[in-house]
Every structure is written in structure tokens, then in C-alpha cells.
Subunit: 208 residues, 2 copies
DNA sequence: ATGAATACGAAACGGAGCGTAGCGTAAAGG
DNA sequence: CCTTTACGCTACGCTCCGTTTCGTATTCAT
């Protein structure tokens, strides 16, 4: 890899395989990612796939990481708005991913710590960090009590999104997200009422 | 089935297979439930297994339903205590179940609504109902605001348990459960401070 | 008693899909 | 030119699901 000895890899193959994998993922979920089919649709041999990714788990993660990894924590200064936006972003990103796919990836990591770590790093940490950052900023502004357990609150907020995706009938809708964020804020804010008022004003400046 | 024509089924086989399945589940998780192995350890033919359960998914659910289905909603009259107890029960029941197993079952139901429904009914609904009942009692006592979205609050509380089990490093510990319940109560209670005080008194009567 | 229906065990099978290996060819560098 | 690596093709071994076949056993109905 370091030295350029031998025939260089065809970078178009990487792209084609990732493309085909993404399509299979969207159409049939994780179990639709069948290496032989992916290779054929990419116009590539199975060998070429396995030369780049050690197994279909890692291949799939390579696609998902790009989709989910780009969640940015919003920062408007309005705590309620930021949290709402944050959870909305996560909901959208993971809704496209699909419940079965995520569940399958989790299951596969059950007995292999390395697999589990890759999943966590590539797919689960990014949204967590976004929520954490949002809460951190809020606390820095003095919006949150000082005794709030930040990691636990991160879990409390993001867990709902995953739960509804994995186990619920429907993913979260905007109204539900708002209700949860408000209830949560009442539990951890120094002055929840003021935050709610600020959010209402903010809404008037950025309608819909 | 209605008429007793033909040789009756050996009820010991049912028991032996369920037993063997439970052991496999505890030792190696869902993927350890290999029909051929289960049958052998139960001293039974594979045919006998498939005559009773249509596939390993249903066989596994038959075991889990008995374990998880017996979660009873506590009812001491102390809202905080009841919720704490409720979440603790769920955490214990599902910790034994194992993250990989649950994830695998969810994944398998992805493209088959019937499978998904069986899982929901046998494993996921019981804990949900326990939380719901606990919250319902609390609202009936007037401990909760009247505008509280009960189903959503049920999700908010139980989601955390599942999230930590499926995606987190460790399941919830008692201290974390308490912190979450308190924060949540501040968001939905009519008078959170009084509830907390009651819980403290209750604790003195039922120490440890 | 005899026959139909059902259960049981043993064994073999078909199928899906993962990941690997062997072989011949192609492209790069020393 | 020789070594190294990439590529495609094909075949293979492996695991495990769920099915089928066949001979035997057990029960009820007539």
C-alpha cells in the first residue's frame, strides 16, 4: 500500500461497489447486500470486493458512515430549537437507514467486540456527539442546571429516536419531538419557562 | 388437533425442547439456537421440533415470552418508586435476554409483518404495558399533569432501557434509573417536589 | 381386529450465502 | 525482463435452514 509496486487499484471499482451496495441497502435492507449480487451490479468480480472490505458488515458500514457521519450539531443559541433540530436530523438520517438494517448490524456485533466498535464509531457516535454538543452549549449558556448528568441526558434524548425506529410502529414526528424536548427541558433547565418563551420568539423569526 | 385421532404428541418433548432452547439462548445467544443442536440436546428429532414451531424465530419467542411476559406493574402509590421499580424490572428481564438476541429478532421481523407482530406481542408489549399502567395510576391519583401524552411518555421512559441494552456499553444502573425518572417527573408532574418528598419518606419505611 | 390418522426418529436433500483458493491475464515499478 | 499486485472467472468448502422420505409406533373409530 505504501509503495506503488504492482498494478494499482482501480478507484472506479471502489465507487461502483459502494454505489451498488447503497442501492441494495435502500431497496432490500442489509440482507439485500449479497456480495455476489453487489459485485455483479457493479460490473466487478467478487474478489475485487473482498480485496477492499473484509466482509459485508464492513462494506455496509462504509456506506452508512458516509450517510450518518455528517450530522452537524445546530447552534442557534435557542436551546429548545437546537435540540429539536438535532433530533429531527437524526430521525431523518436513520429513517433512511431502516430498522432492520440497524438491528442486523447490532446483532452481528454481539459476539465480536471489534465489529461492535466499528458500528459504534461509524454510525452511532456521530448523532450522540451532535446531541452532546448541543447540550454542552446549552449548559455553557447557563440554560441547564449544573448538576445535570450530561451523558445520561444525551441517552435519554437520543434513545427515543432509536427506540421508535427499531421497535415502534412509526418514527418520531415533529410534534412528538417537540413534546419530548419540552418535557425533558422542564426536568433539566434552570428556567424552562423562559426557554420556551425564547423558542416561541425564535419561531416567529424563522417561521415554518 | 380438535379430535384425538392418531398418536398424541409427547408433551415431554415440548418441555425438553424449550429447555434446550433456553440453555442455548443463555450460552450463545440467538445464533446459538441451531435447530439441529437443540434437537440433539433435547434427545429429540428435528422433525419433532418443526412439527411444533414453524421456525427458529417462533421457537425462540416461545422461550422469551415466558421470561419477559411476567413483568407486573408495581403499585405502591408512590409514583417515583413505582416507576423506578418498573424500569428496574424491565432492565433485569432484558439483560438476561441479551442485546444480540433482541437485535436479531428485530432484524428478522424487518420484512415480515407477521414476525414483527409476534415479537411485539410476546416480548415488547408486556414491559410497555407495565410502564403504561404505572403512569396511568399516577395520573389517576392526580400526580401528573392532565395534558401529558401518556403513550409518548411510556416510550420516553422505556426507550432508555432498550437503548442502553442494545447500543450502550452498559445497561442502566439503579442510580441512573433514578436520575432519569426524577428528570422525567419534573417535566410531567403537577408537583414534582412533593412527589420527591413522598418518595424519600417511602424509602425510610422500605430501606435499601 | 382392522384401518385411518397422526407422531416419532433417522437420514438425506436442496438451497442460500459467506468467504477462500486456484488459475490465467493485465498493469505498474525496479 | 522480472517481480509485485490487481483483476476476472470458476469452483469449492462450510454452515445452517427448512423439507422430504421412509419405516415404525401409538391412538381412535368402526
Amino acid at each position: 500500500m505504501a509503495t506503488g509496486r504492482g498494478r494499482p487499484r482501480d478507484t472506479q471499482i471502489d465507487a461502483a461497489v459502494l454505489q451498488a451496495t447503497a442501492e441494495a441497502l435502500d431497496h432490500h435492507g442489509y440482507r439485500g447486500v449479497v456480495i455476489e449480487d453487489v459485485a455483479r451490479r457493479a460490473g466487478v468480480s467478487k474478489t475485487a470486493v473482498y480485496r477492499r472490505w473484509p466482509n459485508r458488515h464492513r462494506l455496509t458500514l462504509a456506506v452508512l458512515a458516509e450517510r450518518v457521519g455528517r450530522i452537524e450539531a445546530p447552534s442557534t443559541g435557542c436551546t429548545l430549537c437546537d435540540l429539536h433540530e438535532c433530533l429531527t436530523l437524526i430521525t431523518h438520517a436513520f429513517r433512511r437507514l431502516g430498522a432492520g438494517t440497524l438491528a442486523q448490524l447490532i446483532a452481528e456485533g454481539d459476539d465480536d467486540p471489534a465489529v461492535q466498535q466499528h458500528l459504534t464509531q461509524a454510525v452511532l457516535d456521530p448523532p450522540r456527539r451532535a446531541v452532546h454538543r448541543t447540550l454542552f452549549e446549552a449548559r455553557r449558556r447557563g440554560d441547564l442546571r449544573s448538576d445535570v448528568d450530561l451523558p445520561l441526558t444525551v441517552d435519554a434524548l437520543s434513545s427515543l429516536v432509536f427506540y421508535r425506529l427499531l421497535l415502534g410502529a412509526d418514527p418520531m414526528d415533529p410534534h412528538e419531538i417537540e413534546a419530548v424536548v419540552i418535557a425533558q427541558l422542564r426536568g433539566i433547565a434552570t428556567d424552562a419557562d423562559t426557554l420556551l418563551r425564547e423558542a416561541t420568539e425564535h419561531e416567529e423569526h424563522h417561521p415554518h
